[in-house]
Amino acid sequence: MSPSGELLASISSALAVAFVLLACVELGDAATAVGVYRLIQYDLAGAPLGSRAAVINHHAAALPLPAGADLSRSALVAPLLDLPLSFLREYLVEKKHLGGLLILLPTNHGDKESADDKGKVKGVLTELEKLLVHEQVPYPVYFALHDDNFDNLLADIHKIASSGQPASATTGGYKLVVSSAEPRKVSSPTISNIQGWLPGLKGEGDSEQLPTIAIVANYDTFGAAPALSVGSDSNGSGVVALLEIARLFSRLYSNPKTRGKYNILFGLTSGGPYNYNGTSKWLRSFDQRVREGIDYAICLNSVGSWSNDLWMHVSKPPENPYIKQIFEEFSDVSKEMGVSVGIKHKKINVSNPRVAWEHEQFSRFRVTALTLSEMSTPPEFLESTGGLHDTRESTDVESVIRTVRLVSESLARHIYGLKERNIDVFAENSSLAINPHYVRSWLDLLSRTPRVAPFLQKNDPFIAALKKELSEHTTDVHVQSDALDGMFTFYDATKATLNVYQVASVTFDLLFLLVLGSYLIVLFCFLVITTRGVDDLINIFRRPPSRKLKGA
């Protein structure tokens, strides 16, 4: 090939590549781009649940809907409080199709909201979550935080809708586009349990193992929107309480003179919402001797929003001497604090796979255990596990501090045998005082971190942070990872970006084409007339005169 030919070929191929690249140029030019969070998608024992689709590419519609509107090709945008649950239920039950659903969660306006407003929102959120999490929703459902952009959008949609026609391809309006990848299964989800020890003081004469007291809390959450499941109260409060107790006892145990004759085991478990799967695996990983050395275990679950009543849930009958002794210790301390602790007994049914409280897993291994919680009744499956309403505002630092005081004082009296003595081990203004700043900063951190277990990898920075914190207070910190129970399968694509475009209808484009065509034709005729004369214009349209006459 001659050099010029080669040059030409390379130039033409370069041009071809340039054209292909140009064809792919697609810049983001939306009117608004907002982060949105998808409803959870999971399979429970093979049954598909949650939102099964992720991509939205439909026109936006808003409530109130015009009569007889067909929503299968529109995405409904609704603020939470305007969405009637009966409407949603009806759609789900009758299997009517929606193009997509975008629910706008109310953002807190601080002090402007009254207590019953908050209560109402919480009630609606809980109901909505219960409805959506246990149903199979064939269309994409997204949650977004309600702000001014959405207010304007809704107002505009209403304006268009009030003109009588619902938004569709022919009438213009707004288009919601969420382009996310097809949701795929999370491969081998892991649950990571973190444990730390505070070894007790072994005297010279003691040949046996020291007894152990365990303090356990589960740190993961589950909610309708996994990217928003921060679980401040369930169970962020429990985790923070555990960390503070660990800190206090590590101070006591750092000095051999004040080290007690008990080992203290701290456990941060995962897999809580899934029948405390993780706790079971964690206990199974223990050596049997270690397990038998556990005197009793205190599980903390949701201790962040109580004021006067805390509940102690047990599976052994309250007449049991061990339980009686522990309950008396708690009662003594609570009386001094001015709060009350009640005891609730729930027998465990070994054949029932449902595990409502964490202590039940201990009981199945024949370890005495109890759960301290503000909830008086056991939660249902996948409820009170850190849902949409469980944000930082629903927890307060004072409750956590109260819990810490209750547990640590009773524990100290038990370990050091201080019964009947009027001693406040963790008194205010002492070096062992409970640190509210520590509690607040950890509570804030936990309220910012969504912690749904299948989306937390083994090496997630949050797990590393918990491990690091625990190793500051305890020794022998170990992270045990295991696979999540096979009954659950989760799908990813939890977060996406919503683009809102303002589109013109097809009729507009056609109209424009018509106008343009007529303009060009008029221009053509005008120019022909002015430069060549009217005759020329007519001649263009006349057929050429036939030659037949001449030829004949």
Binding site: L22, V25, E26, L27, D29, A30, A31, A169, G172, K175, V177, N499, Y501, Q502, V503, A504, V506, D509, F512, L513, L516, L520, L523, F524, C525, F526, L527, V528, T530, T531, R532
Partner: protein, 250 residues
């Protein structure tokens, strides 16, 4: 559907040029060579202008009216005129009459201008889902630009190609040319001094002058018509200005 919008706007922007070529006797005399040469000259002129602008102008720190900068812009505007002069007089055209020559040159010039300034934004922007009026305005501006370029070419051919100019009109013609070249600077300075309506009337007066200037030449009534449509260009400028104002103050 958005490719549809892109095609619509492309027709609006480039259609009139094609229609002009095919409707007028230009197509009969096959003056496409002239147009292509004019387009090439425009390309060269644009490059030279860009280089000069980049070298000589500074990025303005504030919005104040800087006479020095405006003067530089005026001088660079004259490069435009020089390019047109080159295209009209120095290039070898086939044997085509004056009338057709200036039309062909103007057409080629305007087409190159449209392609260079408007094709890329159109390709990138009009294909998106979001609908704006911007590209339609751009198309209208391209139309007006065609008219203005034709009128400029007419003026140029009047100035440089006709040997016998009516004596009385010479100063008017040159005044018109000067005003034309400096028009953008004058309008922007008037706007910045918020004498917006004055700027408008100024352009109208200029239009009137041009119409008077060429109306009495033979076969020049077409030219007069073209220059009368100069107002169209000003309208587009107004639209463009108001658009940018709207977008600049959110």
């Amino acid at each position: 559907m958005t490719v549809f919008h892109f095609l619509n706007c492309a027709f609006l922007t480039f259609g009139p040029h094609v229609v002009y070529y095919s409707a007028t006797p230009l197509s009969e005399y096959d003056t496409i060579g002239t147009s292509v040469k004019a387009a090439a000259v425009y390309l060269g002129t644009a490059l030279v202008k860009l280089v000069c602008l980049a070298t000589l102008l500074k990025v303005p720190e504030n919005d104040s009216f800087d006479p020095y900068q405006e003067l530089m812009k005026v001088f660079i505007g004259f490069i435009d005129v020089a390019g047109l002069y080159f295209a009209l007089t120095q290039l070898t055209h086939r044997n085509i009459s004056q009338n057709h020559k200036f039309q062909a040159v103007g057409l080629g010039w305007a087409f190159a201008d449209s392609v260079l300034h408007r094709l890329a934004p159109l390709w990138i922007g009009a294909r998106g889902l979001e609908f704006t009026w911007e590209y339609i305005f751009q198309g209208l501006e391209a139309n007006a630009n065609l008219v203005m370029t034709l009128s400029l070419a007419a003026l140029g051919s009047l100035m440089w190609l006709r040997k016998n100019k009516p004596k009385t009109l010479i100063p008017i013609i040159y005044a018109c040319a000067l005003l034309l070249a400096t028009m953008p600077s004058i309008t922007s300075s008037l706007v910045s001094l918020s004498y917006y309506s004055l700027g408008q009337t100024c352009s109208n007066m200029q239009l009137l002058e041009e119409v008077i200037g060429v109306a009495d030449t033979k076969g020049g009534w077409l030219r007069a018509l073209l220059l009368a449509c100069y107002g169209f260009h000003q309208l587009a400028a107004v639209l463009g200005l108001s658009e940018t104002d709207v977008t600049r103050h959110p």
